[in-house]
Assembly symmetry: C2
Homo-oligomer: 639 residues x 2
């Protein structure tokens, strides 16, 4: 462990940007069919190779005539022309229109020889041989009540697009309308810029692909970065290729990186947080390629590697998911987009105001992951999330990144900042809720559009609501903290001890938990059910004339609280515990036994400044109409 | 033609919107692999089915210890713990940490039994048996210079995500970060909303698919609407299916519509402008389905049909490409998006100011196709395009649609309007140029990002520039009109008569054109070369003491001007003409002969209010550096 490489002489982030954009990621152009061309970028100019229309075309239903023949005709003084035939769209004319003659013509049909104008049908009347009465015989002549000049209601060949004209330039992004123009030109194959191929090599012996079996006892975790970055690559217009995960062993890493470099325009490595894996990659790049840059004065992302392996570019991303996505978004996605010929989407950056004051001052560029929330006026507020915890959940809390200058000591509350969104499709949540995790709440959230909920527990939720960032806190059980909030409604839920089905230990009440040596799984202090349990224990201590502390001490593992609301019940289900703190609804869902200890109230409490926000109003409406939710959960009642 | 159906009792557009949204387009949900899930919309809530991490996890490189053992340790008074082994990420610990002991641990590794905290490596030193000097022997103990509390630098199982927690709600659009969360949960298959399948039946006997042979003499044209609307369907999140084009015959149309209805959630028909085709569809829908609505008080789109065929919804679009896209964008795309579970993209609507005054007052909702141009300050200006001409080129000039209320008599210059863009990816051009088509200009435009050029000819170009909408006009030849412009630069080009290779008729000069009966193809009056030819003819008339009119009359087809700058030369190449008006560069490109008649100047003239606009500055720079372009074109010289 003593020879671990230290990162010295960190380079400026601008140099890192420059180095990445100097790398050649440009794919070769390719030809795609018109049906597959949407969203692609033209590699070359497309000129018209034919006239559109390719013939003189009637642009009205009516009669093809010689314009000169109609001069002077009007309603009062119509003229009559002999009918010599008809021309329909998609057929070759088999008539010639001579002086004093007309041919019926439909919109889009070829003008017959001799005719140079069309009289619209509304200004004509058919004439039948039997004195104007309709019969089975076709009309023999047409009465024209208006004059037309040569060229009227005719679109000359090439008027729309002339052969030889520049139709679409290189670099044009092909949307519906450009596809339309190309089809008008008869183009069914289009030269487009290739998509840069980006290979993603995940590192770390502990990584397992989603869908495979996970051995937690060996410290395995699912590979998050490969899939996140692959999606980011595709959002930026690249084509992602995942390479089977590499261990931290030199030979394996070398083989994989070289293989990926041969097949891709850019190779990214990502996944491991361990310095030893970074070391191995460093050595492979030094020996099999060209290491251009090692270490950037940016947080996160300091140990970024930039180099080349064979013909391919290489960038090493940090290991924590939000950090990897942050560095990808900031340094790599622009290069992928440029290689794909795509502009930065207009929605990729939003402006907002800091919801809180944020101190800084580390002398390095900080790429601060932030979440977005809107205030009652719809203005976007920005708050920092994930201060390097490495939590994957912050992936979904973080909407984007704010770049904080090295010289900035703090960002003031209300200060305007630009947020680079992680994806152009990211939208601020319509409702930002925090607090107690609860099955009824989950179903209510399902009825809202794009809500955000962080299950931080009642106590922490209320603390955050007091901090002013979230819209609402969901608070269960007895509450100590006094926070100014607006109550939106709530429900009650039955809590107690979840025990194995049929309650084999015959647990009957709280006294059993204290007096018998049961393997117990508790919840953490932020959970509402824990506050209810503590209060019940207080009552029992009072009744027995002892301290609550003495009773708690008598319960095995009382101080170790699990985070998830289902965790104690799941431990019971796995056979790892005799009893767990939880809800009747959870016990029923998992087919377990339940010993009721009480009923607690769950309240949805709103930030008083946000009550006019549509997302909060919507939640309030949903709360009123949630009887079906409460009825479906054992031990729940509306309030 | 007399029994053509009239459209009476036009319904309000709001009713049409309501009818379409009442149709059931919702596809069934489906399951896709995680790699294919990007951009899709979750059909159901996804709850965490496991704890993340699944074990107590070291979050630092260092030593796993019992926190209690380190109490009181600091730099001045370190403590020493016996090293009992090591735990690496991805392996199962094979040590137990007892009192006074420590195990080396790497980030991400499973905490060994007995240990409850990690001391970071930077606050430790290894101790070797041979009095602290490094040797080949492994270290036997570690010196700890800091105290850690139980839980320090350890992430407890389930801290990140607890099993049972709500991870992502139904309706969530899956971007990179949601993909990351799903992979953390080990999810490799995702329940997503299906894409509504939209069948497109093109109608009209005259339509030919791009890539197939076109018989212009029969009035065939390429099918534009099918491909345009298919791309629009995909942009809205649907899946488009093209059905082989249907003739206007009842049996064929019935077979196709019924087949499409069986296979799709929605069927659109589009393509024909002929009332007879609309009639046939009308009859099929009435007999094989349910016609819900026929005729809407909107321009364009009045004859819109809305109905059902079997289980499928049906909407009939108008025939002109811009009209079809307009109706699709306004009425159909929102329904496709809703069925796909996608929100309207934020970029789908932009606000701008009318660049010109536009009169109206027809008492129907007008969906006015508009183009966008930015002024010098970057503000978006909006101008009407395509007043029902049916030109496919206006597809690329029109960026979107402004809905003009039936009561509005006019939109004033400078009035704010909302533009629904045809595609969310549509961007206003960086430069809007009009005027003379020219091969050097085409190459210059290739060097700009997203320019728009309309080849309307010099005279019309200057007229439009005077109207204040475009940024620049490209003007060739002698100019009568006096317009206040800023000259950005230009070039000269040699013009004359394009003749067959080797000049079989031995055409020598303009006099030959006048005096001999040559089959001649002229350009239109808006073309700069035509102005040069007229001027040369003036000179010849002066020299001969006759009127220019007499000379022009002597030239066959002098008055019929073709639109494309290459059209006369192409007529010569096809053997349809003895001589055509054109450029030396064109003759050389097509391998034809050339009789020079003069040199004319081409000037790029800018709107004086826009000279500070970046796109104009860029064009000016490109003009200065265009010597390679002029050198590559015969008869061109920089100016």
């Amino acid at each position: 462990m003593s020879d671990r490489r230290q990162f010295r002489d960190l380079v400026d982030p601008a140099v890192a940007h420059g180095t990445i954009s100097s790398l050649d990621l440009d794919p070769e152009s390719e030809t795609v069919s018109l049906s597959d061309a949407r969203g692609r970028v033209l590699a070359e100019r497309v000129d018209a190779d034919l006239d559109v229309p390719g013939f003189d075309r009637a642009s009205m239903d009516g009669y093809a005539v010689r314009g000169r023949d109609t001069f002077g005709a009007d309603e009062a003084d119509p003229i009559e022309l002999d009918l010599v035939g008809a021309v329909h769209a998609g057929t070759e004319p088999d008539v010639v229109v001579g002086e004093g003659e007309a041919a019926e013509i439909s919109t889009g049909a070829v003008m017959p020889e001799g005719a140079d104008a069309v009289v619209m049908v509304e200004r004509t009347a058919e004439v039948y041989s039997d004195d104007g009465n309709e019969s089975d015989e076709p009309p023999t002549a047409v009465v024209v009540r208006t004059a037309v000049a040569p060229g009227d209601n005719v679109m000359l060949a090439g008027t729309d697009i002339a052969a030889g004209a520049r139709a679409l330039g290189p670099g044009t992004r092909l949307t519906a309308r450009e596809i339309g123009l190309l089809s008008a030109l008869g183009v069914d194959e289009v030269p487009v810029r290739g998509k840069p191929t980006v290979g993603i090599v995940s590192t770390g012996d502990e990584l397992v692909r989603p869908g495979e079996d996970l051995h937690s006892e060996r410290g395995q975790i699912y590979d998050v970065n490969s899939y996140t970055i692959a999606a980011g690559v595709e959002e930026a217009g690249g084509e992602a290729r995942l390479y089977p995960h590499a261990g931290d062993d030199y030979g394996e890493m070398e083989r994989l990186l070289v293989e990926a470099a041969e097949e891709c325009d850019l190779v990214l490595s990502s996944g491991s947080t361990s310095a030893s894996a970074v070391d191995v990659i460093y050595k492979v790049i030094e020996e099999r390629g060209d290491l251009l840059l090692h270490g950037v004065a940016v947080k996160p992302g300091k140990p970024m590697l930039i180099g080349e392996v064979g013909e391919s570019a290489y960038v090493g991303l940090p290991g924590y998911p939000v950090s990897a996505l942050t560095i990808f978004r900031t340094f790599v996605a622009p290069a992928v987009r440029a290689a794909a010929g795509l502009p930065e989407p207009r929605t990729a950056t939003v402006r907002g105001k800091m919801a809180v004051r944020e101190r800084y001052g580390e002398g390095r560029l900080r790429l601060m992951p932030v979440g977005l929330v809107t205030d009652a006026d719809g203005e976007t507020l920005v708050y920092p999330v994930d201060k390097g915890s490495g939590a994957t959940t912050s992936l979904v809390e973080a909407d984007g990144v704010v770049a904080v200058d090295p010289d900035t000591e703090y960002l003031g509350e209300g200060e305007a900042v630009d947020v680079k969104l992680f994806s152009p499709d990211v939208r601020p949540p319509t409702l930002f809720a925090v607090g107690e995790d609860d099955p009824a709440l989950s179903r209510l959230l399902d009825r809202l559009e794009n809500p955000r909920f962080l299950p931080v527990g009642s106590r922490e939720g209320l603390r955050r609501l007091a901090g002013g960032v979230p819209d609402v806190a969901v608070v269960a059980g007895p509450v100590e903290r006094d926070v100014d909030t607006v109550d939106l409604g709530g429900w009650t839920r039955e809590w107690g001890l979840v025990v194995p089905a049929d309650n084999p230990e015959g647990v009957a009440d709280l006294a059993d938990l204290v007096d018998r040596d049961l393997a117990f799984v508790n919840r953490g202090r932020d959970a509402g059910v824990r506050a209810s349990l503590d209060a019940a224990l207080d009552d029992l201590a009072d009744a027995r004339g002892v301290s609550q502390h003495d009773l708690a001490d008598a319960i095995r593992s009382y101080e170790i609280g699990s985070k998830g609301f289902e965790s104690p019940a799941r431990a019971v289900a796995r056979g790892n515990a005799d009893a767990g703190l939880g809800l009747r609804a959870t016990a029923e869902r998992l087919g377990l036994g339940f010993v009721p200890l009480g009923t607690e109230s769950v309240r949805v409490r709103a930030n008083p400044k946000r009550t006019a926000k549509p997302g909060i109003e919507e939640l309030k409406d949903r709360l009123v109409a949630a009887d079906d939710v409460f009825a479906s959960l054992g031990g729940y009642e509306s309030d």
